[in-house]
Structure formats: C-alpha cells, structure tokens
C-alpha cells in the first residue's frame, strides 16, 4: 500500500509539472502555431446574473474573496473619487498580470458598481471544463471571451452593457508573461463607441510581483499592490474607436507613471508626450537613447517581480480615495 501511494505521489507530481491550478499547461512556444481553440462562448452564464446567484456571489465576495485577498496582500486603492459620478453601465479596462487583478478590482469598487459588474474571462481557460466555468461564472460573474477563431466576434459584452451591467475587461487578452504590458487590443474601445458608454482605465502595480503567472497563491509577506483608477473616458461626439483607444493607452501610461514621477510629474510628462505603456525596462544603447530590454531576457522578469517599496518615495500632495 505504501508503494502504491508513493507511486501515486510521484505520478501526481509528474502530471502537475508545468501546469497551473486549473491543471492547464501553457502551450510550448514551438506549438503556438498549432494551437487549437479550446472552449467556446457557448457556456450559458445567464443563470449567474439571476437574483439568487447575485446574492450568493455577494456572500462569497464579501465573506471570502475580499477578506482573503486583503489579508494576503496590502492593497492601496487610489482614484476612487473619479467614480463618484458614475452610475453605469461603464467599461473598466485594466492591465493584467496576475490572478489577483480581478479580486482587487471587484473588492475595491463601490458596491453600486461592483454589484452589477461582469468580468470578461478567456473562454479557452476559464470555460473549458464545466465545473470551472460554473465556479468562475458564480464568483466573478464572468462571461466567456473567445480569444481566437471564428467565435471571437460573437461576444456577450454588448448585450450585457445593454442590460445595464458594468464590464471589467483586460484588453491585453491574457495575463502578462513577464509582468510588463503587451499592446492592448482595440475591442473595448469599439464596444464603448458602439454602446456610447464611458471607459475607466485601471492600472494595477505590484500584482505580478505579489502573484506571478506560475503561482497559485500570493507570495508570502503581504506585498504591497496598487489599484489606481483613472478618470472616466467618455466617447466624444464623432470620436472613433481608434481615437478612444489612443486616449485609453495614454491614460494607462500616465497612471503607471504616477508611481515613478508623482501625480503632477506624470501629468507634465504626458503633456510633453513622453509617456508610453510600460512594455518593459529600458537600457541605454550605443547612441545613448534608451531601448527596450528584449523579450525573453531574464531582466524583464527580474524588474517586474521586484516588490513595490513599502511606501511611495514621492510625497503625495493630493491623496485620493481610501
């Protein structure tokens, strides 16, 4: 019997290697071109927005999700004052580098917004098995987003906005590999233009260091994370999706820079057109101009996984939110 259990333990260890909590392995790089589209948007999530499911979700989020998240990391929430006049529906767009991102946003939003919040989740990741899809839909009010293939245009998002739900979308499409942002997709901007709803950029910092992609639980030591809400971006008269998308990118870049330059400094840098999305650390090259550290370099992960300092080194003149 001991031999049996020892063998089982070894087998489990072998099966678990290179797989996450959901038992999923990332596609090896050389197999990416041969990747199949897993899952689909066909999983019905309507039941997760019924009054009973909403009540259950509220209990889970308030009684479990937020307390656990808030005890494992030290969230610093900023910019909630921008949301005071919002009543919804609204689309929140955030950078995405950790499984902590959604719980932090859900836990930090005012009740009137979070109670009617639906989260876009990858169909091929969160909806590929029935039990996982059910848990995701119940806890996060998630709806499937098909990332590849013919179904990707058949999203539930416009319908949810029409029904008055707020949406949380991660326009990068997936969690960051190395903690830095990849170019956001234009889909959320199209959605906001189409439905004429405001978009709120959200920037999360420190979540990669607190719980990077390969971990199933936050790092020990209650690391500091920042959730910073930007000003709502209302689609202007005659504005196209590309222009709104550009405003979103600028806003996110500024929210990120606020930690390094301070609020006013980030505004000044934005005015000078010096800001860009945090796509990776920079290094000086031959002529002295900084260039991005190449993807795949260990220095990218190294820089991204450095915990945020315990306190901001910049004196905040106007401290926002709580």
């Amino acid at each position: 019997m001991r031999r049996l259990f020892a063998g089982l333990r070894d087998d489990v260890r072998m099966v678990r290697q290179a797989r996450d909590l959901h038992g999923q392995a990332r596609t090896p790089r050389s197999a990416l071109a041969h990747e199949t589209v897993r899952g689909s948007s066909s999983f019905a999530t309507g039941w997760a927005r019924t009054p009973a499911a909403r009540a259950a979700r509220r209990a889970i989020q308030d009684g479990l999700l937020k307390p656990v998240t808030w005890t494992q990391v030290r969230p610093q929430i900023e910019g909630l004052d921008h949301l005071q006049r919002l009543s919804g529906p609204v689309v929140f767009v955030a950078n995405h580098s950790s499984h902590l991102d959604a719980p932090l946003i859900i836990g930090s939003l005012p009740r009137r917004l979070s109670s009617r919040l639906a989260v876009g989740a990858a169909a091929d990741y969160f909806f590929d098995t029935r039990w996982q899809a059910m848990v995701t839909a119940l806890v996060f009010n998630a709806f499937p987003i098909v990332r590849r293939g013919h179904d990707r245009r058949r999203s539930l998002a416009p319908q949810l906005l029409a029904e008055g739900w707020n949406l949380l979308l991660f326009p990068e499409g997936t969690r960051s590999e190395d903690g830095w942002m990849s170019p956001p997709r234009i889909g959320p901007a199209h959605l906001c233009i189409q439905r004429q709803v405001p978009m709120v950029p959200v920037m999360l910092r420190g979540t990669y260091a607190a719980m990077p992609r390969t971990r199933n639980w936050p790092m020990p030591g209650q690391q500091r994370v920042i959730v910073r809400y930007g000003k709502p971006l209302h689609p202007a008269e005659g504005e196209g999706a590309r222009a709104l998308h550009q405003r979103m990118v600028q806003s996110m870049a500024r929210l990120w820079a606020e930690d390094d330059l301070g609020w006013y400094g980030s505004l000044r840098a934005q005015a000078r057109g010096e800001l860009a999305l945090p796509t990776g650390p920079l290094e000086p090259v031959g002529d002295g101009t900084p260039a991005l550290v190449q993807p795949g370099s260990w220095r990218r992960v190294w820089a991204a996984s450095r915990p945020l300092p315990a306190r901001s080194k910049h004196l905040q003149v106007w401290r926002r939110g709580s």
């Binding site: 049996l4 089982l8 087998d11 072998m14 099966v15 290179a18 392995a25 090896p28 050389s30 098995t129």
Partner: protein
C-alpha cells in the same frame, strides 16, 4: 479540421511527455531543447463507409466494375490481410468484413458458386477460428468456415504454384488456389507506407522459397527505409514479383486506410498532445496508470490486448493494384507524415505493448527488437532521425518471456543463436537454412498456431539497417540480461541512458523523441 503534424521543441512550458513502455506508460521530462515529433491529428473518418465501398467497387481504378468481373462458373478467391493488421486490432465490424460482405453480395447476385476465402498470413501463425470470425464477421464465417475459409499454408507443397522468376532471378511462388483462380480479390488495410500494393499477394500468399528473396539482410540493409517504397530494395523486389504476377493472375485490389484513432474514449489522453490534457485527461492518466500497476501481469496483458481501436476509415480504393496503391499511400502519408529538419545525435522511442506478431500474445525480446530497431526506426523518409553512429534509446521492460505456442523457434533463437552471435549476416549464413527447414517448426506452423521457424531470424534482419546505422542501443527499464543477450544495454532511467550515451555522442547531444503511437512517420530533410 485536423491539425498537421509538427516538431515540438521542449521548453520550460512543456509538461512531462507521455512515453509508452510495453504494457504501460509513463510521463518523462525531456531535456530542454529536445525535439518531439508529433503526427498529424487524427483525420476524420468517412461518414458512410458502406457507400464508399459500393462506390469503389462500382468505379474501380484501371479495372471494370467488380460486378462485371464476376460471372457464373468462375473461381473467385478472396484474400485478406491477417491479424497482423491493423494495430491495435480494429473495433468490430472490421473493415475487412464490411468489404468482403459487399464483394460476396455482388458474387451471389452474379451466380458465383466457387468462392474461397484465404487469410494472407504468409509465414505468420495461423489465425484461430475465433480470430477469423472476428475479422470476416459472423455471417461470412458461418457460410464458409472451415472448408472455404482458411489460412494460407506456406509449407503445403502440393498447394503452392511456381509462377516463374523475375529478371533478377527471384522465384515467385504463391498459393495454388489463388494462382488458379479467375479472379483474386485482395482486401487490404494499408496501415503504414510499407504494407499493401505489390506486397499483398506476392508476400501474403507466398512460400519461404519466394520470401527469402526480399526478407534477407542485404535487401533490408538497402531499404532506407522500408516505409519509403521508392527507396526500399525490399519494395523494388515486391514490384518485380507483382509485375510477374500481373502477367499470370487477375488481381482486383481493394485497399483501405485508417486514421490515428488508436485508443478508446476513456483513454483519450493517449491520443492527445500533453499540454492540451484537461483535468479529466490527467485524472484518467493517473487512474489508468495506477490501476495498470496494480493488476497482475497476465491480466494486464489480457486487458491491453482487449483494446480494440475505434479507427475511422479514411479511404476505400479498388481496382488494379498498381493504380490503387498510390492513392492509399497518399492517405497514409496525409495521416502520418511530419517534416523534420535533419537528424539528431540521439533518438528516443517509447515502445508500446503490441507489434504485428504478438496480437493476443506476448511481446518477447526478439519482437521488442524488431519493433524498435525495425518498425519504429524505419518510420522515416529521407534519412533516419538519428545520425549515423548516434544512439537509440527505447523504453520497454524487455522481459525474458515467450509464448511457447506462438513463438517456439523464437525461444531457440534467443537461447542458442543470440548466445553465439548477434550479427545478422552471420545468423543468416549459419542458421537460416536450419531454422527454415526444421521439420518440427514446420509441423507446428502447419498444425498448431506457431510462427514459421525462420520468422525470428526475419525479425532480426528487420533491425539490420538500424544495427548498422546506430552506434549504441539502450533500453530504459529493460531487463539487463535479456537486453545484454541481444547486444544492447539497459538503463534504469533516462538520465542514466543519456549518461551512457555520452561516450558516443558527447555531453550535450541533440535529442529527438519520436512520439508514437499514434503512428508518425518522419520526413527527415
């Protein structure tokens, strides 16, 4: 839409990969940078196989419709591939049954009374009545067994006919009933590029005197590979014999091809790429592997051999053999071919529980050798996946076990011949005649269920090309004595095997894992 085959490069994201090892399997972590050859995903099977058979018989290639060839008073012989195909055996109804039933429907409608069915088993063991029934179906079995449904007997001298000699002096001698028939209908399953076509009648119904012209060390060493007919001396010989046969007998060939659905739904993980395993697949892997370890060995073997593959049929083609076979080959390669960029220092293969000669039987050490160094090593086009002088690493327990009814001459070959030499040429020169003509082996072949006396030597020749090409052969998990008897080495783990291979290929060798089954044929550029 099935995805094409491809070569994976192992990176830090790659989970442990599945490795067959006899009546079991394991997960193995390969060194970073190793290449893994995956076959194309299983192709969709034909939706209406019966309709496809009807169409093939009504509009054959290079022959009139079959119904026009069937006339009252004629002698019709239907020959079919024996139990060595396909592997694993097919879930019933077997495609041979379905095709034969269609042929017999036409024969009955056209008033053909003189019909014989013969299993083309050459020097393989006879099929048991139960195996024959499983292959041709209950209805055919009931109508023809035992007098008109039988195994070919390659040692039944009065019932063999010399057709003639090819321009290379190769004797063509086949079953008399078939040779004297007005029409031979051959029903085939082309599982690999090696089988079918000119091989069907010239090998399936032949005698030892005829077979020895291509089943010899020289021919097999010049068949590179024997799964690539244009570059296979063995197939060149088949072609010459088939051309001679075509002058004397009328053959209507019906070839079928299958997809790569080898395992039932509950073992679907064996058909899938490991990083695409969902939780169900992982649980199934753990459950099957643990249960497999717990079951007593004899029962375990029984369970594995009970596996009937839910193949889909990808093509049915009928007509003149020379026109039918290229079509079948295209379908086979569409299912199995994967392009590979050059050979590597080390090739790795996980050997499964079954080969063509141990269906419902035991995979003895000689068969392990022929499966690894014969069949799997030769699953290439262009050049082997291992460079000359490189190292082959196989996963198999190589137990010193033999099925004494099926493989009596194998036991003597292992105990006596291999104790003296493992050199294929020396074996051929000194022992072939003795094993081929031994009256006791012949008696067992004809009256029991034994493979022909010469068969273990052929299995050894099957690996002659690999033995000449490779610098070393290592079996991970292999029985030390049994592997040593065959001139190979055994290692307890992959790390040990790689360490042992250092002396041949250095400390940082390139590695290619040929991920099969399902069958993958490497097109090495």
């Amino acid at each position: 839409m099935s995805r094409p085959g491809f070569v994976l490069e192992v990176d830090e994201r790659t989970p442990a990969l599945l490795m067959h090892e006899g009546e079991g399997f394991r997960l193995e972590r390969l060194p970073l940078g190793s290449r893994v050859i995956y076959p194309p995903e299983s192709l969709p099977g034909l939706r209406d196989v019966d309709e496809e058979i009807r169409r093939a018989l009504a509009a054959p290639l290079g022959r009139p419709p079959l119904t026009e060839l069937l006339v009252p008073g004629m002698r019709l012989t239907i020959v079919f591939d024996d139990l060595s195909l396909p592997l694993p055996p097919m879930r019933t109804p077997d495609i041979r049954q379905r095709v034969i039933e269609h042929v017999l429907e036409l024969a009955a409608a056209n008033g053909v009374d003189d019909v014989e069915l013969i299993a083309g088993n050459a020097l393989h063991r006879r099929m048991t009545p139960a195996e024959l029934k499983r292959t041709v179906g209950e209805r055919v079995f009931r109508s023809f067994f035992p007098h008109h449904l039988r195994n070919h007997d390659a040692e039944d001298r009065p019932n063999l006919t010399e057709i003639g000699r090819t321009k290379h002096g190769e004797l063509v001698e086949i079953n008399r009933r078939a040779a004297e028939s007005d029409l031979i209908v051959y029903v085939n399953i082309t599982l690999t590029a090696m089988s079918g076509g000119p091989k069907s009648v010239s090998v399936g119904l032949a005698s030892y005197r005829s077979l020895k012209h291509h089943h010899n060390v020289h021919t097999l060493r010049h068949s590179r590979s024997f799964n690539d007919p244009p570059n296979s001396a063995m197939h060149h010989s088949y072609d010459r014999m088939a051309a001679l046969l075509a002058e004397h007998v009328n053959i209507f060939q019906i070839e079928t091809t299958v997809n790569n659905n080898l395992f039932p739904k509950q073992m679907d993980f064996l058909n899938k790429r490991e990083w695409e395993w969902n939780l169900k697949d992982q649980a199934a892997f753990l459950a099957v592997r643990r249960a497999n370890e717990l079951v007593p060995p004899a029962r375990r073997r029984q369970l594995w051999h009970r596996n009937a593959a839910p193949y889909g049929i990808t093509s049915v083609t009928a007509g003149a053999p020379e026109e039918v076979h290229p079509v079948s080959l295209r379908h086979v390669l569409r299912q199995q071919l994967t392009e590979v960029n050059g050979p590597s220092d080390i090739g790795i293969w996980g050997l499964p529980y079954i080969c063509p000669y141990n269906v419902n039987s035991i995979m003895n050490p000689i068969l392990v050798m022929s499966l690894g160094l014969g069949y799997f090593f030769n699953l290439y086009r262009g050049q082997p996946i291992v460079r000359p002088g490189g190292v082959a690493i196989f996963y198999h327990p190589v137990r010193n076990e033999f099925q004494s009814v099926h493989h009596p001459s194998y036991i003597d070959f292992f105990e006596e011949v291999l104790a003296e030499t493992t050199d294929p040429v020396a074996i051929e020169t000194k022992f072939e005649e003795q094993f081929a003509t031994d009256p006791w082996y012949i008696h067992l072949y004809r009256n029991s269920y034994a493979y022909h006396g010469v068969h273990p030597l052929y299995m050894w020749y099957w690996g002659a090309h690999a033995l000449e090409h490779l610098g070393d052969v290592i079996f991970v998990g292999g029985d030390r004595k049994a592997t040593a008897r065959m001139g190979f080495r055994s290692a307890s783990s992959l790390a040990d095997a790689l360490e042992m291979a250092r002396e041949r290929v250095g400390g940082s060798p390139t590695i290619t894992y040929h991920h099969t089954p399902p069958l993958a044929m490497a097109d090495v550029r």
